[in-house]
Amino acid sequence: MSSEFHSDSKAYGVVGSFVTPEALLAATQKASDAGYRKMEAYSPIPIEGLVDALKFDDNRLGWIVFGGGVAGILTGIALQVWTSTQAYAHNVGGKPLISWPMFFPVLYECTILFAAFGATFGMIALCGLPKPHQPIFNAESFARASQDRFVLCIEAEDALYEEKAVTQFLEDAGADSIESVMTTEGY
């Protein structure tokens, strides 16, 4: 549709938009059963079961957060032990140089801070953001995918992709509107 802006663009995929989350979920399940793999379902709200229909599972974020937390613990220990025994070793009130109960609060805060960095930036990185423009944004119906439409895109990279067949498939699945999307990405 908006492909007229680009002189040499290739097909990105076929986009069908649905009115309800249930319709999107059903269509995605159908597409998955039909053997399509390279596809993505876009919705204004998270829909339970959609990632299962897409046969997608990724729990790396948990490990990133765990890694952040461990890094925080190590930073907290290293910072406090090194400064109190090496860089600035002072006897304060007769306390031992490594007075570990007193080191706990800073250690605790460092752990939470680093883990929160892991959760936020890990999520952003795993989602491939920031990427202010994406090929799917060329679809006219996509503007409503953040508002009140539920959009399924079967991408051209899929092994079974064939524009007419996919269009027919989405029509049979009950899509409200269907369009082909072009992209200039990769040129």
Binding site: P44, T83, K95, P105, I112, A115
Partner: protein, 486 residues
């Protein structure tokens, strides 16, 4: 439970769909007319220029005036030194620390609502969390100003952070004041991250709805290119549940660490193990009071009655009642243990608080009991919890009461500790008051800027809640067919 009111049973009232929710909440940001819809009292309107006679302009104007008062006070303070405050021997911590603790406490409701209630799957949080998180961030900003300025030389405040420097100095990690630096900066950072992560899908909605190219570009950049794909949502849900899990211990730790500033010392009245839990309960108490005090007028001005319902107020009032009782228990225990310990200094402190005839600060202690224990007791009555005017004034009373709590803790203990020869009295100056009201103004200023430029209710969570509520209703009717889907 026992409440028979039908209008009181739902988290969202009225009939909505996704497009209408976008229009009702998202367009508060996109359509400037929404900010001039509500009108102020005709007498007040005479003072305002035409086109600005709405509560948004009045509140923003008040905030702006006090931001200038704050800037003036800070200028005088920085040019002269912290002697312009009433702090002097024996009271080294005056309004600055009272206000610091008060503001940090107010921030806690935002974190509790967004993190703890998320983990407990309390979906009534959905319509108030964004708003309360913004409140957290602005309250922590207000709080942060005080210790920074109290250093006397705020331009070298970065010395508080550990970094290799030519002076070969490092922080003293056995000091609760250093813990505070870490606790408050972590709290601020994590609150901002959590808030921003929560905003990303809504910023994408605004990007796609905006017709003004500047708004579209700004929201487009802030949304980072969020596309709402199922894979993105999957990670997003992981991230928000984990951020909630990480913020929940912050609710408990930040105010505990703030209370260590006192509890780790040997000053009578400060050196008590009850401080961490009772500071945390007090923080949630004060925070919910501020959420209610802000939500009542804003809900009316922006016609959000369908999203922030009487049920929300009822539950928030119950949280206040519960935390208020914990705080009252804390006061009782302080008195009891002072007596039970038999320690002369603790008994003297008890006398300094309670002896109306002989103690100079007894008025502050009784004001605290009045505002924080006696007046909030009316929340036991369902009628009061359902009366927004009453609820607003009870919240105000709690805000004042919590301020007095810190006042009672700080000057009463400091003016009379171990040495009678160093007894004194704390008298705040005009700069102290100017800075206090200045930060209140700054808070209002930031809140109304936030309401103007960012969605104050979480749009996608409201859609999700609405979807689940409808799904639940249809589920009740068609139990037989739904099960076959999976």
């Amino acid at each position: 439970m026992g409440n028979k009111d039908m209008h009181n049973e739902k988290l969202v009232t009225g009939q909505w769909d996704n497009a209408l929710i976008d229009k009702q909440i998202g367009d508060i940001v996109l359509d400037p007319k929404r900010h001039t819809e509500a009108k102020v009292h005709p007498l007040l309107a005479k003072l305002m220029p035409p086109g600005m006679q709405s509560p948004w302009f009045v509140m923003f104007g008040i905030g702006f005036v006090f931001v200038n008062v704050l800037l003036l006070c800070i200028t005088i303070l920085v040019l002269t030194g912290i002697g312009v405050w009433g702090n002097n021997q024996p009271v080294g911590w005056g309004f600055d620390i009272i206000n610091f603790v008060w503001w940090i406490g107010i921030g806690h409701a935002g974190t509790l609502i967004s993190a703890v209630l998320l983990l407990l799957r309390q979906n009534w949080r959905n319509s108030i969390n964004r708003f309360a998180e913004a409140m957290t961030i602005f309250a922590v900003m207000c709080a942060g100003m005080y210790p920074l300025l109290h250093t006397g030389r705020p331009w070298v405040a970065y010395w508080l952070m550990p970094y290799p420097n030519v002076m070969a100095l490092w922080p003293q990690f056995r000091s609760p004041l250093v813990w505070d630096v870490f606790a408050v900066t972590t709290y601020m950072t994590v609150s901002v991250l959590f808030w921003y992560v929560g905003l990303i899908p809504d910023l994408a909605t605004l990007r796609d709805r905006a017709t003004n190219p500047i708004a579209r570009t700004a929201f487009g950049m802030l949304a980072l290119g969020w596309n709402g794909g199922a894979r993105a949502w999957h990670r997003y849900n992981h991230a928000s549940i984990m951020l909630a899990g990480l913020s929940a211990p912050l609710v408990l730790s930040v105010h505990s660490i703030v209370s260590f500033d006192f509890a780790m010392s040997i000053v009578p009245g400060w050196f008590t193990t009850i401080f961490p839990p009772y500071f945390v309960a007090g923080a949630v108490f004060a925070g919910f009071a501020m959420v209610i005090a802000l939500a009542i007028p804003i809900r009316k001005w922006y016609r959000l009655e369908d999203f922030i319902t009487m049920k929300h107020f009822d539950w928030m009032a119950k949280v206040m009642l519960a935390t208020g009782l914990i705080v009252a228990f804390g006061y009782a225990m302080e008195v009891f243990y002072a007596w039970y310990s038999g320690q002369p200094y603790e008994l003297a402190l008890l006398n300094n608080r309670g002896n109306l005839a002989g103690a100079p600060y007894a008025w502050a202690f009784y004001a605290l009991i009045l505002f924080n224990v006696a007046i909030p007791a009316v929340l036991w009555f369902a009628k009061v919890r359902q009366n927004l005017t009453a609820l607003f004034w009870v919240s105000m009373s709690i805000s004042i009461g919590m301020w007095f709590e810190r006042y009672v803790i700080i000057p009463i203990s400091l003016t009379r500790d171990y040495l009678p020869s160093s007894y004194g009295y704390f008298t705040p100056t005009i700069i102290d008051f100017g800075m206090f009201f200045g930060t209140v103004g700054f808070f209002i200023f930031m809140m109304f800027l936030f309401i103007r430029y960012l969605p104050m209710i979480n749009i996608f969570e409201m859609k999700e809640l609405w979807h689940h509520m409808n799904h639940q209703e249809s589920h009740d009717h068609e139990v037989a067919t739904v099960g076959e889907k999976h």
